[in-house]
């Protein structure tokens, strides 16, 4: 099985799902502490990704004047 590296949008979606759990009926206090720590780590990872990510600009070779 291969594990695909998540992009920042997928991580943000994961963070949102994790956040929603705390407001859902599935919330269990016993699990909350670990989940909170996981979300904290994910949030730090996202912030790091947001700082590091750059756009790629490709100028197309085609000559549109012809």
């Amino acid at each position: 099985m291969t594990t695909k590296k998540k992009n920042v949008s997928e991580k943000i979606a994961e963070l949102k799902a994790g956040t929603d759990w705390f407001y859902s009926d599935d919330f269990v206090l016993d699990e909350a502490s670990q989940k909170y720590r996981d979300l904290m780590n994910l949030a730090k990872e996202i912030e790091r990704d947001l700082v590091e990510m750059k756009n790629e600009i490709k100028i197309i070779d085609e000559d549109f004047s012809k």
């Binding site: 943000i12 904290m40 549109f64």
Partner: protein
Amino acid sequence: MEPTQVYSVSDFQAVLNQIMETAFSGVVVEGEVSSFKINQGKFVFFDLKDDQASVGCFMMKFALRFPLEDGMKVRVRAIPKLTNWGKFSLTVQAVVPVGEGSLKKSFELLKKKLTAEGLFAPEKKRPLPENIVKIGVISSTQAAGYADFCKILNERWGGLELQVAHCQVQGMVAADQIMKALSYFNERSEVQAIAILRGGGSADDLAVFNDEALVRAVAASKIPVITGIGHEIDESLCDLAADVVASTPSNAAQMLSRDRKEIVVAIRSDINRINNLLNAKIDELIVDTRDVLRVGRDIVVKITTIESEIAAQKHVLAQLNPDNVLERGYALIRGEAKVGNVVEITTYKQDIKAKVTEAKERK
């Protein structure tokens, strides 16, 4: 004088046309339109004139990309030609209105026509896809508007792939180049949105974005198109045909990207809210636990009270127990106390039968 070369009339006309085509290939002439007419629905004729001269023009209707009327000031790109009948004319390749009045008139005529066709209908508009990763950009890479777009985009978000089609964004050749770029992106279907960008300029500079063929190409694009053309106050027919309109190239960058700073703030806010929620839940639990303890204490008090009451009741009952009375020396007599009768006498320690020898009323 001996002539160096003798031409037939048709040869002379052909040579003359060749010379003119070489010398004035794509010459641009500006003047006022008069005697405008379309023959057989496909041949366009008009005169181009100024105060002192006039020249006949001919073009095919499909090449006419702006509505024309007599009195409009236009610029034509044309090849000069001497016809078989010796008449000089311009074979027009492209024509654009110039000057504020003509541009406005042309804009209104074309807007009315295309609106009637439903080209600008709101129900045709598509939203930009969410989480865009690949964007096709049509602009001049030397234009300030393009630089603004890239700057804002880079500040706001990363991880995007921009495929940039470098085109002229003003002048008579610009519309064709932009249309080719639109076709390029639509044929490949690699990008999720196409941004057509051009910074501010005069009405003449921006006239290309009212070119009928280009407006139709924008409306027909399979990929959603966002325009960021000119300044806030400028409106082009390409804007009306596009799916999404940004007021400027910078605004287009904002609409195509999320703001990483806002996301960081939102993430921190979410984490804080969860933290507060957890604290609240724990406080709630503490309150619940205290309530349980208080209820427990109340129950203990109630049990103690009941036990005391039972003890008191037991004491009263004990007082009423006949054995206790007998123990104090009293006796219980059963039977009729009549002389000669046998009665049963119960004391604390004994059951006795005794014969009554005397019975009299107490005084």
